[in-house]
Symmetry: C2
Subunit: 188 residues, 2 copies
């Protein structure tokens, strides 16, 4: 059980709050009371909220890319990989949370412009990874779809992000699980 640094604890708390409420609906005071420290301590690690937001996104992006690597190195064909990809999203849905990137996308109009390129890169990486899986799956005969692999990748990413949004708003987690099955079964 390695000790987590205060910095990491702050990021964990902030991420949970951001995924549940949005980037403009949590404060340093929220994090401080959750961790039992003072606001000034958080400002020591992240001088401005923009610094915190940027660190949140970077960490989430790195974790997500790492998860994609893990999926690629595990056994299973394209269908299994897509299922495991959808499960990454389903995992965020518990406790009324959605994907951090999806939340940031919805808040993009109220966030510092400097964050937009990284968020855009995040989505591009997701689409590129999905496009690769789609292409491999089609070539191997595991997947069957018409149109380009990239347009299928776009559609899957959009459906998963929107599915989190709608399922969370309707308080119906099973809606998202059924959606994942629908999306993947029609690619077979």
């Amino acid at each position: 059980m390695s000790k987590q640094s205060t910095r990491d604890l702050i990021l964990d708390s902030a991420q949970s709050l951001a995924q549940a409420r949005g980037f403009n609906a949590f404060s340093y005071a929220d994090i401080a009371s959750e961790l039992g420290v003072r606001k000034a301590s958080i400002h020591y690690h992240f001088p401005s909220k923009q610094d915190l937001e940027a660190a949140l996104l970077e960490r989430y992006r790195a974790q997500f890319l790492s998860a994609l690597d893990s999926i690629e190195q595990s056994a299973g064909g394209s269908v299994t990989r897509l299922k495991r990809y959808a499960d990454l999203y389903a995992g965020t849905l518990s406790n009324g949370r959605i994907c951090l990137a999806g939340m940031m996308a919805s808040d993009i109009g109220a966030l510092p412009e400097q964050l937009a390129p990284t968020l855009s890169a995040f989505f591009k990486e997701q689409i590129d990874w999905l496009t690769k899986v789609m292409t491999q799956g089609k070539n191997a005969g595991d997947l069957n779809f018409s149109g380009s692999a990239q347009s299928q990748a776009n559609a899957l990413l959009a459906a998963l992000q929107g599915g989190l949004l709608v399922a969370n708003a309707m308080g119906d987690e099973t809606l998202f699980k059924r959606l994942g099955q629908t999306l993947i079964s029609r690619l077979q």
Copy 2:
């Protein structure tokens, strides 16, 4: 050119701001400066921000339902109706805005609980309408899909909502237009 009441002007301004920034990232002061009135005047029409938010959602819901009626009464088969439905979403994307309901869904964790049932009803109405169009289209031979009409309706709603989010975050309006084509063409 009928005069718009101050109340309607307030709702217009608030809706535009909410769709662009989110419900927790615009203020009475923003609306006041946009309309050239004082904050207190807005409080006269909408005593609390919760009142304003509720009115925004109700009006959006009524307008959307009216648009669905209009689509139903116009000529054209199921494919045309789905295309016109997707166009309702595409229309919001200009000027960095997304669907008001999608934005409210992302902010649901930071909004008064009283709004959740109405938002949930909004999404249910969308799904029911799409399910009806899907069913009619399949029976008429216009549409072709496996699985239930309702799961296809869920998937289409989710993909459109998520598509707005991703396209807006990536600053790529054409991504959404291509998505709409992909989603509908694979139902034929």
